[in-house]
Amino acid sequence: MQRILIIGATSAIAEATARLWAARGDALFLVGRRADRLEVIAADLRVRGAAAVGSFVMDACDIPAHGAMLEAAELTIGGLDVALIAHGSLPDQKACQASVELTLREIDCNGLSVVALATLLGEKFETQGRGSLAVIGSVAGDRGRQSNYVYGAAKGMVGLFLQGLRNRLARKGVHVLTIKPGFVDTPMTAAFSKGALWAKPASIARGIVRAIDRKSDEVYLPGFWYLIMFIIRHIPERVFKRLSL
């Protein structure tokens, strides 16, 4: 049995992942903004076989609250083996362009709050000499594009931060995983029309559980995004700046 903390537990990807862990009999601690939704999900996970399910209401952007949340998690499920950071929002890029305040708020939510949590959890895992920290980044963080660069910048920051953290903790028995999903059919993307590149949360979830089990460093989900992003990363900026992506 693993003791697993999930931040942003009401997100579609996090919920699908939690179901797989529940089926394995793991103990789960769910963190999210809405108490009612956390309770509905907690009940579901108990039926599916979770050894224990606790929950905690917190806005991940409320950085001073992180410490108390972590204490509550350890107390409730008796320690921590895995932490999945899955919260986030999909900013309206156009609205961000017109508002400094909105841009910074989105970077706060998708970037800084994750850096804060990863710092805290990195310390925690380093002290105990083991643990898996898995963070949902995005393919959008691999290269800035006009359609989505506020989100991309925040996710890119998270990706770089985790690389450094991984490098530092590699010899301390701590596993750091960066998860880069492509397009996922979730409530966050309900407004988009869906083509062949879109994946279901359940398939992303299987990839996340597998990557944590195998202690992978970085995964693209589904895997074909590795190839797409390899190409996108390698287009010369001179050419890239003219593309409408």
């Binding site: 999900i41 009940a43 579901d44 039926v47 599916r48 409530p187 309900a190 869906k194």
Partner: protein, 429 residues
């Protein structure tokens, strides 16, 4: 994307689609009517609402509570039967009643009051529902059970989604010893042999069903009886077949089902090597077609109709006439399924089964000749006191439906004024 039902017949697309995944939330404010869309496995237009709104309920897929002692499960209405099986079969529980596909939602199972191979002993799905919550467009929520709001309970079971939205359901699972099914196969020739086999088998087996070749001059087929195997038999069970990569692209252009292919298929199916007794995994026993994703695409762009009727047992001779008529028409299909219904009465006012015998057949859509055939069949079914299964229907006349649905007038007052469907507009007064 245009939502279709399983028959894939062209029809009016829904003008709006909304997702609804929180059971405590209010229904969206809408102009025009709405209808819950579960997993789209009914064949005709009971799950469609052309020109108006479909409410996607698959996101309503959470379990709420399970009592390990009694097997009572409470879950949201968008949970698939397959999801229940995945979680509960390993713990020794099974669905009390299951139709021939496991990819339907619990809400859809209630709305169509589905039946299975154990109807003779267990009745319909609705017979095993203890209670549910019904959300109406006026925002009211009713707990419905045989003891509370019993009238709403009866109207909603088999109510084709027209009485409001089912948000969650409490139902009974049943104990099984393992994943194996002990089955017996018999080839039969003629309906007399079917009925005598069936009478014997129903007395001693939980599940019975027959496949018949309705192209043959004398109806012949394979009768299967089965029971959940004892745990000790499990070692012999072949592994779960896994999800096969068998599929067809969505725009498969032409039908692979025609007179020649049907004859070959039916011959081969009838004569295939058949063990008299075997222990098999429950999946191929209950869900043989689920192994082929999108088998409905076999029929190509022209798509297909399914025709399922029930006749009271006294009208047995009518069944001979109907089968002879179908054989002579040359339009018959493969996988015609024959099953007798028992005497357990569903609580549902519009529930399809009645004590008697039911036959389900696929017909490739050849346009006017196919529709003309159905008119003739309707006349024979109607004259024999039978009726058609709404979940499979895409074309019966309103007049036929109203005449063959004895409790329709009791049902009508329970229809939610904001809920409608293509089927409702086609057949209701």
């Amino acid at each position: 994307m245009t939502l279709r039902s399983w028959g894939r017949l062209p029809g009016d697309a829904a003008a709006y689609e909304r997702w609804w995944a929180e059971r405590a939330a209010a229904l969206p404010e809408l102009d025009g009517s709405l209808l819950a869309y579960g997993n789209g496995r009914s064949y005709g237009d009971v799950c469609l609402n052309g020109g108006a709104t479909l409410l996607h309920t698959r996101g309503l897929d959470r379990f709420i509570a399970f009592d390990e002692a009694s097997g009572v499960l409470r879950c949201e209405a968008g949970v698939l039967l397959s999801e229940i099986l995945d979680v509960f079969v390993p713990r020794g529980w099974f669905l009390p009643v299951t139709p021939g596909t496991r990819f339907i939602t619990v809400g859809g199972a209630i709305a169509n009051d589905v039946h299975g191979k154990n109807h003779h002993g267990a009745g319909t799905f609705g017979c095993h529902v203890r209670r549910f919550e019904l959300l109406r467009s006026d925002g009211s929520r009713r707990l419905c059970s045989p003891g509370e709001n019993a009238d709403w309970f009866a109207a909603t079971i088999g109510g084709l989604g027209l009485t409001g939205l089912i948000t969650w359901v409490e139902m009974e699972l049943k104990r099984i010893a393992g994943v194996g099914m002990a089955i017996e196969n018999y080839r039969f020739n003629g309906l007399d042999e079917f009925f005598s086999r069936n009478a014997t088998a129903e007395a001693s087996h939980e599940y019975t069903v027959a496949w018949i070749d309705c192209l043959a001059a004398t109806p012949r087929g394979i009768f299967v009886a089965g029971d959940h195997a004892a745990a000790g038999d499990l070692a012999d069970v072949p592994g779960k077949p896994g999800s096969l990569p068998l599929t067809l692209p969505p725009d498969w252009p032409f039908s692979l089902v025609n007179g020649a292919s049907l004859r070959v298929f039916n011959q081969a199916y009838y004569h295939r090597p058949l063990p008299a007794q075997a222990v098999v995994h429950y999946e191929p026993f209950f869900y043989p077609l689920d192994a082929v994703a999108h088998w409905n695409r076999l029929y190509g762009r022209q798509a297909f109709y399914q025709y399922q009727f029930v006749l009271p047992m006294v009208a047995r001779t009518a069944l001979d006439d109907i089968l002879r008529f179908i054989a002579a028409s040359g339009q018959g299909s493969f996988l015609a399924v024959l099953k007798t219904f028992g005497h357990l009465t569903s609580p549902g006012l519009l529930s399809f089964p009645m004590p008697g015998v039911t036959l389900a057949l696929d017909f490739p859509n050849r346009g006017a000749p196919t529709l003309a055939l159905f008119e003739r069949l309707d006349a024979m079914v109607g004259a024999a006191g039978g009726r058609l299964y709404a979940a499979k229907d895409a074309r019966m006349s309103g007049e036929f439906f109203r005449r063959s649905t004895p409790r329709l007038s009791e049902f009508m007052p329970y229809i939610d004024p904001k809920f409608s469907s293509g089927f409702a507009r086609r057949v209701l007064p």
